[in-house]
Amino acid sequence: MKWTSILIALVGLFITGCDEKADSNEPSGFIQIKGSDTLVNAEQMVSEEFMNDYPHIFVGVTGGGSGVGVASLINKTCDVAAASREIKPKEIELANKRGVLPKEFVVAYDGVAVIVNNNNPVSRLTIEDLHKIFTGQATNWKEFGGKDLSIVTLSREVSSGTYAYFKEKVIQLGKKDSTEEFTAETLLLSSSQSIVEEVMNNDSAIGYLGMGYVSDRTKSLMLGKDEQFYLPDVNNVLGGTYPLSRSLYFYTNGQPEGIVKLFIEYALSPKGQQQFRETGFVPVGGKVAKKD
């Protein structure tokens, strides 16, 4: 009998949890952020700082890719969708059909870095070269002044915003009606971190990812054309000279309210932007893009 009552008490606790009563004057609640794998580390930092300032608000951060974020915004399973690409017109249409009105915030700028192994002698490529490599027209590093090794192309999964961006800029070369695809030999890896691991371990690998994942364990290529080549760093991204520069976004359903508004404002504040800078991105300086 004694054991039964203990068991019941435990099960009860398991279901209800030990809820500590929040001060009714302080904002409290739960914010779910889903989306971009590029942004996930920065979001984590921002939300940890945010939770320090507002101890009664819990922020859950999940990666998976920009597509995952946008899809869950449309399916109403997250409060903030993080995306490393703009929302597509098709997605806005789908969202509106379900009564979701995506509202866009630019939270940081980013350059898509193209990384190779530290032992790879190649240090600069043009977008044309990248196009040839990732569509499978060029298959050996010696065509670009490297070793006689066949090129292993690495990409993110199709749910990635970086994938979508790279496909548009490099595979289709900005032409919307182009039907070119990544070579089918391309390895589709499920996170930016696994691209870093594979590039570190493989002399002939080439991959792309957000600036937040650049470190000295891999080598970032200088991109450009006509003798003008640029590294993916803060100045070249802000100046727009790095060819693969882009914005990173947060999307909310309609104008954010309550704790979600608090969070967005925090992310765009100097304190929040500092976290984006520390994780390797380029802060926006409080500018908010208006677009409904």
Binding site: V70, A71, E91, E157, E181, E185, S190, N202
Partner: protein, 289 residues
């Protein structure tokens, strides 16, 4: 009277849980069927089953399942070729040869093997096994079918060992004694008499192992490279059915073509594992008789 009522109550509860389990299986099947059939309203069945390209986010999207199906087949066949000799061999050792203290140690070790989370194996595959295989075999990349097969073989071993061992132990002692009586050596008795008598049990073990391997997701998603090519060799990167569903599920908007296509892939996977488990069941049934 009171006893009768409680008897009846308990019986009812057990009956209900039994029926519920069967009902769940049916409901899952119907759910898969309903959502995957919706795909074929907008996409041709032939193009799905025989299509050679899996390009889910292109315009227009192509949902050809052949590269994924072959990816799964390659990884599974590779894993089975690796783990069956090892599994059956260890089962023979544990059942017939090992001294009793070693037997207990080995049996518990096999159980521990079964409890390693697949994501841990996947991680080992990425940082250790893949790079080593790449260097040893001089491959383009360590993220290939073979890495997946090796790790999956490792995961299927516990199933194969414990079920084969059961089958070997349940062979009547008199068979062996008769063999010894005719002058057979220990090896001859084991190889020619015990193993064939336990064959249906061992086949069932292998079948269940295959079922485990083909349905495994995390490991293959992490280590096989996920390139949706039609594989010609197990040393190539490839993409399996399970990794496709897991990798793409999050981004699909419910009700879209892509969403239905993933359900159709799920249905194909369900049918495959169902057939494998069914044949394993038939073999086990035969073994018991």
């Amino acid at each position: 009277m009171r006893r009768k009522i409680s008897e009846y109550g308990i019986e009812l509860c057990i009956k209900l849980s039994g029926i519920l389990v069967i009902a769940f299986v049916f409901l899952i099947f119907l759910f898969l069927l309903k959502d995957s059939l919706s795909l074929f309203g907008v996409y041709r069945l032939g193009a799905f089953l025989f299509g050679k390209n899996w390009l889910p986010v292109s315009e227009p999207a192509q949902f050809g399942i052949i590269p994924l199906l072959l990816g799964s087949v390659y990884v599974t066949v590779g894993a089975i070729i690796i783990c069956v000799p090892f599994g059956v061999g260890s089962a023979m050792f544990i059942a017939e040869v090992a001294p009793s203290f070693l037997k207990h140690v080995l049996k518990s070790l096999v159980e521990i093997l079964a409890s390693i989370p697949s994501v841990v194996l996947g991680f080992i595959g990425i940082v250790w096994l893949g790079p080593h295989l790449k260097d040893a075999l001089n491959l383009r990349t360590g993220m290939c079918g073979l890495t997946g097969s090796l790790l999956l073989a490792f995961m299927a071993l516990p199933t194969i060992i414990s079920i084969s061992e059961d089958a070997l132990v349940s062979v009547p002692k008199s068979f062996k004694e008769a063999a010894f009586g005719l002058g057979a050596t220990r090896w001859q008795a084991l190889w020619r008499i015990v193993l064939p008598s336990a064959s249906s049990g061992i086949i069932a073990a292998v079948m269940l192992g295959i079922g485990r391997v083909i349905g495994e997701t995390m490991v293959v998603m992490m280590v096989t490279g996920n390139a949706p090519v039609i594989p010609t060799s197990i040393l190539q990167p490839l993409r399996t059915l399970t990794a496709t569903i897991a990798g793409e599920m999050g981004e699909t908007v419910s009700g879209s073509e892509h969403y239905f296509a993933l359900f159709a892939v799920g249905l194909v996977l369900f049918i495959i594992t169902f057939l494998i488990n069914l044949s394993a069941d038939i073999c086990l049934h035969k073994a018991r008789r």
